[in-house]
Amino acid sequence: MTDHPDHIQDMVDDFTFLGDWEERYMHVIEMGKALAPLMEGERNEATRVKGCASQVWLVSEAADGDDPIMTYRGDSDAFIVKGLIAVALKIYSGRRASEITATKARPIFDSLDLSGHLSAQRANGLGAMVERIQRDAAMRASK
């Protein structure tokens, strides 16, 4: 079992109490429902994550400084994808850019038994979204 930082381990612990995939999916969907929706104007071409079969938008905001804290907000018109966005935001949002680029998604999604959603072949685009999160962080970390 991989050791994760506290903010991720809390989420992993939540998942370990869940039984079968039905409960895990329910939980993921609930996490998505708890996300604040983006404002209408924030759902635009610039924030749209390409490579997702359903529509996915991601807004990144960086604080000041060399290695800023990055804040991400995301949305989708599909429940499961929105839930997966919530999981990704739990991992990456509110962290320093350098930490974000160093944090690999796969071991975490493995711990959540959700890594099947990460592969590039999966049309839901979780992989594309994580890539976008890390790319935006990398741009800020190097400034």
Binding site: I29, A53, S54, N124
Partner: protein
């Protein structure tokens, strides 16, 4: 000719597999169908016993392979009711067949000439015509679809005129399931002096097609939805219509003689088959057609529709269910939306129960715009599906309803 569902299922090795702990219920046949043993064996047997490049070979296996390849052409002709196998051009599929026609007819168009298609076309029967609009100034028109998924025939007729040079219509819609009256439409198109093309991708799988009766100039089909391999399809054409087409690809096989200052072309159909063709795939398609034509196709149709109506009966009770495509003449394609639930969510949850369906735009964006929806979930039935699988579809959508509310 019989139709015994257990015997049919036993011929599809893949149907014994499990998905996520459940027996596979494959309801994505409109996207691509599974392959019977006869097709798998025909292709591997060819590779194991006699394989060479086709045409012009002077050794035994070249002759044998050519005979098998050309024999497959004859089978396509028989399936479509084409008078001669020389009227069958092998293509990679319907998409390539329609692109060949669009490319090949471009030289006959003047700016302002009209191309009439419908709102229910697949992108493969839209984008090649957009090319002619962009490159040659053709005017592309879309005949409207009524709320129940029927083509608006009055509007269609009113859009035909002396300016209409090309009419291209889907025989059976991959999203709505609607069967269009292509014989009647062909009469109108021909009366207007237009070239008539029919996209038969779905129709050849579900209904008896006879191109001579339809009277169209071109009819396009693909193999992989007809229980055959991918990478092979066909274009039927009337001899005079095929003569008007400029070749799409240049290369070997499609020429008679090549000089430094000129080239002469092979006869039809080889003129349109440059390069080494998909030999094994054509032979596999031939085997699929043999297998398919040996079925009682009227019984197969009734069986598929029984699965469709059985599923529809169950789904109608689910809160927020809406059928998209309720034309009186339709095949076993069940597109639906579930209020408040994204079709992608539905498809992912169904997959967890071993039920494979499609979710998305189904390459029919103008049709999505027509219904003001972004996507649908689509279950499409084939000869090997069962009423039990229709029940499992309903049960899984009920589960999805619980998840997604």
């Amino acid at each position: 000719m019989t139709f015994n569902i257990d015997e049919i299922r036993a011929q599809f090795p893949i149907l014994s597999r499990e998905i996520n702990g459940y027996p596979l219920a494959y309801l994505d046949n409109a996207a691509s169908a599974q392959k019977p043993r006869a097709v798998i064996d025909a292709m591997s047997r060819q590779m194991e016993t006699s394989f060479a490049n086709v045409h012009r070979g002077l050794h035994s296996m070249a002759n044998e392979t050519t005979a098998a390849f050309e024999g497959a052409r004859g089978k396509v002709a028989a399936l479509l009711g084409a008078p001669s196998s020389e009227q069958i051009v092998f293509t990679r599929g319907t998409t390539e067949a329609l692109n060949l026609v669009a490319y090949g007819l471009a030289h006959t168009l003047k700016p302002g000439d009209e191309i009439l298609i419908t709102q229910m076309e697949h992108h493969s029967n839209i984008v090649p015509w957009h090319f002619l609009r962009e490159r040659y100034g053709a005017v592309l028109k879309f005949a409207p679809v009524l709320d129940n998924g029927t083509l608006d025939l009055d509007a269609f007729k009113s859009m035909l005129s002396a300016k209409t040079k090309i009419v291209s219509v889907v025989h059976m819609s991959n999203m709505l399931g609607t069967l269009n009256p292509v014989t009647e439409i062909t009469k109108w198109a021909k009366a207007a002096g237009a070239t008539m093309i029919v996209d038969g991708t779905q129709a050849v799988v579900h209904s008896r097609v006879n191109v001579a009766e339809i009277g169209c100039d071109f009819y396009a089909m693909t193999g992989h939805k007809l229980y055959g391999p991918t990478g092979i399809g066909a274009l039927y054409g009337k001899p005079a219509a095929l003569e008007r087409l400029q070749p799409f690809n240049g290369g070997g096989e499609m020429i008679e003689d090549v000089y430094e200052d000129r080239v002469t072309y092979a006869d039809i159909p080889h003129r349109f088959e440059a390069g080494t063709p998909p030999i094994l795939e054509a032979i596999g398609l031939g085997a699929a057609i043999d297998w398919f034509m040996a079925l009682d196709r009227d019984m197969a149709w009734q069986h598929e529709m029984a699965c469709y109506y059985h599923a529809l009966d169950g789904l109608r009770d689910i809160d927020g269910f809406k059928l998209i495509g309720d034309a009186p003449q339709k095949g076993a394609v069940l597109s639906f939306t579930l209020k408040g639930a994204h079709p992608h969510d539905i498809a992912q949850i169904l997959d967890k129960y071993g039920v494979a369906i499609r979710a998305g735009q189904h390459c029919t964006q103008p049709l999505m715009a027509r219904y003001d929806i972004h996507s649908t979930a689509r279950a499409s039935f084939g000869v090997y599906n069962t009423l039990g699988e229709a029940d499992r579809l309903v049960a899984a959508v009920k589960k999805a309803r619980l998840f997604l509310s």
